[in-house]
Symmetry: none
DNA sequence: GATGAATGAGCATTCATTCAT
DNA sequence: AATGAATGAATGCTCATTCAT
């Protein structure tokens, strides 16, 4: 297991300036994200990553156990971020329809803001080592479940139709979200907000009893 | 361009259809589909494919120009099938809502019936050579346009809401369809028909004015 | 051993129109010569040759035993032609200096007229099977000896300097001839005749006592 | 571009120079030269080279970009050496005939001393990548031009005949030199010096007005 | 922390040749 | 006389990873 630079900050305090504190590690993650999104995980060589980050292979293997580990770290970052945001919206005050609408809009906006992460996620997930793969799937499932709970809440409250399993509604909606990477372009006619609102409208409309 | 087998079985008799009688080309396509769906395009070696098909590498390169060409042929087959079916449903008689519902149900059923093809499509498409990639995207776009025309037709007829661009509705729906490969299991609780109906219901409901 | 189409014309009679009688074999030799000269023997595939000649591989292996055999036939043709011409000039009437000058001029002209053959000769000779290689070398040696005899004849007659071994003079001169392929261009400023005369002048001058 | 070994032996001490102490890069160049001369570039596999040098393929690709690059390095070494020597002789004191004679003798001696390099040069040059090929040809042309200047100098001084283009005299002479590899054997009756003197005599004699 | 030489297994692809038809 | 499917061995090259320094 490669030593983490954060390893000795287990008390949770954060460096004052994240991007300057661990520049090599951050740069490696950033370049790997960009390259994996562009060419795919398998088609990106460690050599390309380290060259893009301006470091040597030795440096990369100092911070990460393997190329696979690099991918895993990218996933961990995405998962952490999405879960945090979902919790914030789901736990807010107000009618469940409003909270679901807000959460749905936000996940679109966040996805669009981190489109590279999104592209990588579904294209390269199956390249993870089995153990890692399982843990990522599990984390992902927890995220879906949190979202599904909102749907169930609405169904129980009678504001959403309940003849379609909530589970499937979630898969239906996230399929749409995950495919943003295949068609959305930041310099296209629509902002992330606009797409987010439309998607949320479609979701809420589809749930009307 | 690799030569195509020109079935010299013009009399119509068919092989007993033990897998060993199957023409080499078909066997290669079938095994490649299975393996690409399982491990991804990049992680599947030509050696694995030919071993699975019980032929030699030379035979594969007799029928296909490259590993890339093999992937392209798989795509071409899928695209052809889907376009045919969509046309059949779109050109049928009846109200546009019914036709859209039928087409939406059918694309889900077909996807579920060829789940390997679906898995390959979005995971490996970007590994195609640029030229091939473009032609596949173009074909895909034509398919989406045909589907979008149905939505537009309904919007003009006033039976669908028109405050969301038809284009986006299509991307929204097909995102869901294309992600079936990540969660649907043939031996799960739901048949393809059931999922298809639910998906079509959600689509139609989301379009209610 | 591949059958030769000429095999059943052992009596020596020739077809009225050589190029139409054995079109396939001639076309194969012609295209092979062109391609070997351009890319080298090893870098030219049998596939390229048969494609250029507009026939199939099977046809090529009907007329020639192997790719090596094809090269050998090219050599045999060149060697035959050159030996015939040298004999004609060497056996003519007149002073030895004139005969050597004429022979030297002619070999340059012939080389320039068949530049592809010349390019192939020294680039690809060592790719021949050992046995074939030996027989080509032997034939080549006979050619050199016939040429050397002219030099010796002149040295004995006292018209050529004899302090340099005749053998070496021949190697000296043919080195120059064989390298024509690396610099001479048919559409350059000089005709083959002009180069031939200059080369012969240089040779004769260098032999002045 | 493959990285070059940056001899960290700045103190000047040398390895015992048993062939195992020799740097990997040098050993690869030496063995490649030997094998290319023997079998030709195309017929020599990278596997054969690395086996002969006692290293792995990976090591070779660490020092050289490709098999092509290996050939290019051999060429660069030869070209550098020959240009240096020619300059030394051409820029010396004395009559132009003496300087040309000395330079001509030297190029023969050097060629004979590095006969493998010479064999490779004309047999395999056309296998280089187009760009590399051009640069080698250009360097070669500069060498020829330097030599030609000596001939022109003699023609202007009236000590050489000027009815034959100097350019052609150079091609004539270097053809002879480059073909040494096809007939000269170190263990034959003549030393390189002897051949060099004879060749230079023939050249100078051929230039007598 | 970081280097860079070296590994060794694996990759897609090419190719001359064969052979049943 | 000619086809074209199939072979199987070889080829140049890439790559994630290791390790002495």
């Amino acid at each position: 297991m490669a030593r983490r630079v954060t390893g000795d900050r287990a008390n949770g305090e954060r460096p004052a300036n994240g991007s300057l504190e661990e520049p090599v590690r951050q740069r490696l993650l950033a370049e790997a994200t960009r390259l994996f999104a562009g060419r795919g995980f398998e088609s990106t060589s460690v050599q390309e990553i380290v060259a893009a980050a301006g470091v040597t292979k030795g440096a990369m293997y100092h911070y990460f156990d393997s190329k696979d580990d690099l991918l895993h770290e990218i996933y961990a970052r995405v998962l952490r971020l999405q879960m945090e945001r979902l919790n914030r919206f789901a736990d807010a005050e107000g009618p469940v329809a409003d909270r679901l609408h807000a959460a749905a809009t936000d996940v679109v906006v966040t996805t669009v803001d981190n489109l590279d992460d999104s592209k990588i996620f579904f294209r390269s997930m199956h390249q993870l080592a089995p153990e890692t793969y399982k843990s990522v799937r599990a984390e992902r499932r927890r995220y879906h479940e949190r979202f599904r709970d909102l749907v169930v809440e609405g169904q129980r409250a009678g504001v959403f139709r309940d003849d379609i399993p909530a589970e499937m509604v979630v898969d239906f909606f996230f399929g749409s979200v995950h495919h943003l990477g295949t068609w959305y372009h930041p310099d296209g006619p629509l902002t992330g907000q606009e797409v987010g609102r439309h998607f949320a409208d479609l979701l809420l409309n589809s749930l009307r009893p």
